[in-house]
Symmetry: C2
Subunit: 379 residues, 2 copies
């Protein structure tokens, strides 16, 4: 498979039948057994956290060593088809942002018709909230349709039952490698030092649970039942050719939100049961990942190894660039047709969503961020 050459080398956690979970690097359609390859017990652990906690100098050294081992004939490799992939890191805190102006505007129009689509704060700060870390799961895990309180019509009394407006959200996630001290904010310039790598995120959403619960304290059960992440964490150096200037921001952000490092050129693709339904680009995001990190810690909040934050739904300005069904079906008002002739407003039991992404690589090819997939099943 292309996209997993020496210019990528993403990290994950795998096991083979009868063996315990340990760290690996994907190379083509193979997985390098890191603990064997580098004779380092930090990779014999069932998560990347211990390695991530070692910091940028160790990450740089290991990336060179991995490339060297792979160029030799002695690399301990497993066929990808022979391994199971697991959640690659132990999740500390999970923060979900809301950084696409297109997405936030569309959601505002759908959820709050008649009001200004963007709230007054939106262009002054990257809006975010804490999600549930304990229900972050690896790609491939089935998603049970959640039950809960929802109003089947706006004027009806709330009832208990299965969610009837199930959605996905295509997002990009950023994994914290090294932590910070409580009371010491990070700046946008600290992004490279603290962020280990990037993954794909599906922030599964129940729009009926969410719309009934979210005023005044934000999304809770409409999101907390599951968040899927891709199994391979692409390290930041692999994305150096994908760096692009940040989008124009007006009004100019306050000084603590200044970011000279820019954002990433990541091309996403979303499929429903194998039919492509959206191809958003991360270049359309208003707020940058480094601005999110600076904002998240401006109040002195610390970060820890394994914390991660997601961008919010990646949606662009055209109908082929939308990152969730809420927008694609305009709140359920406009069913759309798949290539197999069936129609959707929200997800049906058995539907599988696959989100993949690619980016320019340092060798002139494109690298793959892999995919995050999941199937909705009845419960």
């Amino acid at each position: 498979m292309t996209g997993y050459g020496l210019a990528n080398l993403p990290y994950g956690v795998f096991s083979t039948p009868g063996t315990s979970r340990r760290c690996g690097v994907r190379f083509g359609d193979q997985v390098l057994d890191l603990a064997l390859a580098l004779s380092d017990p930090v990779f014999a652990q069932p998560s990347l956290n211990a390695f991530m906690a070692q910091g940028r100098p160790a990450w740089t050294r290991v990336r060179s060593q991995v490339a060297e081992v792979l160029r030799s004939d002695l690399a301990p490799l497993h066929d990808l088809s022979a391994v199971s992939l697991h959640l690659p890191f132990e999740v500390g805190d999970y923060v979900d942002f809301y950084a696409s102006e297109y997405h936030a505007s569309n959601v505002g129009k759908i959820f709050r018709p008649g009001a200004q689509p963007l709230t007054p704060n939106w262009k002054h700060l990257p809006i975010g909230y804490h999600g549930r870390a304990g229900t972050v799961i690896v790609s491939g895990t089935d998603i049970k349709r959640p039950h809960g309180q929802r109003k089947l019509t706006p004027d009806a009394a709330p009832t208990y039952g299965p969610s009837v407006r199930m959605d996905f959200e295509a997002e990009i996630g950023f994994v914290i490698g090294t932590g910070s001290e409580l009371g010491s904010p990070l700046t946008a310039a600290d992004f490279e030092e603290h962020v280990f790598g990037v993954c794909l995120v599906n922030d599964w959403s129940s729009r009926d649970l969410q719309s009934w619960e979210y005023v005044p304290l934000g999304p809770f059960l409409g999101k907390s039942f599951a968040t899927s992440v891709s199994p391979w964490i692409v390290p930041l150096p692999a994305l150096s050719a994908a760096r692009i200037p940040a989008p124009a921001q007006d009004p100019e952000p306050l000084a603590y939100l200044k970011d000279a490092s820019g954002t990433f050129d990541l091309a996403l693709e979303i499929s429903l049961n194998g039919h492509v339904i959206g191809t958003p680009s991360f270049t359309s995001m208003y707020w940058t990942p480094a601005q999110m990190l600076a904002h998240m810690t401006v109040n002195g909040a610390s970060v820890r190894t394994g914390d991660f934050y997601a961008s919010g739904t990646v949606s662009g300005g055209t109908t082929d660039q939308l990152g969730c069904l809420l927008e694609l079906s305009w709140g359920g008002a406009r069913p759309f047709t798949l290539a197999d002739g069936t129609t959707r407003t929200f997800l049906e039991d058995g539907d599988q969503i696959t989100i993949s992404a690619t980016a320019p690589a340092t060798d002139g090819t494109r690298l793959s961020l892999g995919e995050v997939k999941g199937r909705l099943v009845s419960s």
Copy 2:
């Protein structure tokens, strides 16, 4: 000190100079060294999590063994004054509820004047949101005044600077001992099996950061800089005499929120620099702790050992029963006078907040839930 007899026996984590953190039980003004007393390495760990994960039968057995050891002359005890107390559990996910009708009504009147104080969903479900687990700290840790974006007047542009409306919130916290499976909701009846114990919580709040950021996705930086918890976790059996029927709820909650177990009679006391400023009672809370657990998991969200959830501000219906300064000063509009003659609207640098609580004990006396204290310092 009274309140820490055989009818209480709360669990915590302590160290003595030159030794590592380990688990203990408070008895009077002494701390029982559990690993020594019971010769069990589970208590030699720096958090209660491993013990909590063992479940209710182990909790019951250990509580009996501790009482037996304390009745002997051989208990390995340390003077409380000779030990340092630490965060008693490793926090998984932290959820903050909003379960006081008085508090929610007052906040609604202050933050959304002219609108209905309670949002339409409030009496149908216990409103909650996820807080930041990584900034949960033990009582006694100083709180640095957070910086961030706030509007100094409602019509001003947002500026960066120290929060000028610093507040506390007096809450009760519930610590999850044993986890649940993803996709399998818990019921109110599962409360006794999964909840290990109870602590005191100060949900420090920056009202200016919060009011600017919280629409539409809820509180974030206004809360995430610090949440303080008391060092001693009171196990549920110690509170069996504090069990009282749940308050009347109208409308009748949906079936999944039915709770036959009721709530707890906990008397809180809040002091600012040693002057009592509030004495709310947990009996005034609208939603019960078991209802919160059932709601938090109704969508299939799992819980893990070390997760904890807090009740939201405990406020009653009279001015001597308010659990935060936002209510006490009515959003800053009504300065109030302390016994030392100084006045406050919000917290000043150097102010110390101490929240304590007592409850009826099984031996006819009252037991102490200890205290959670913290001092606001400039940053």
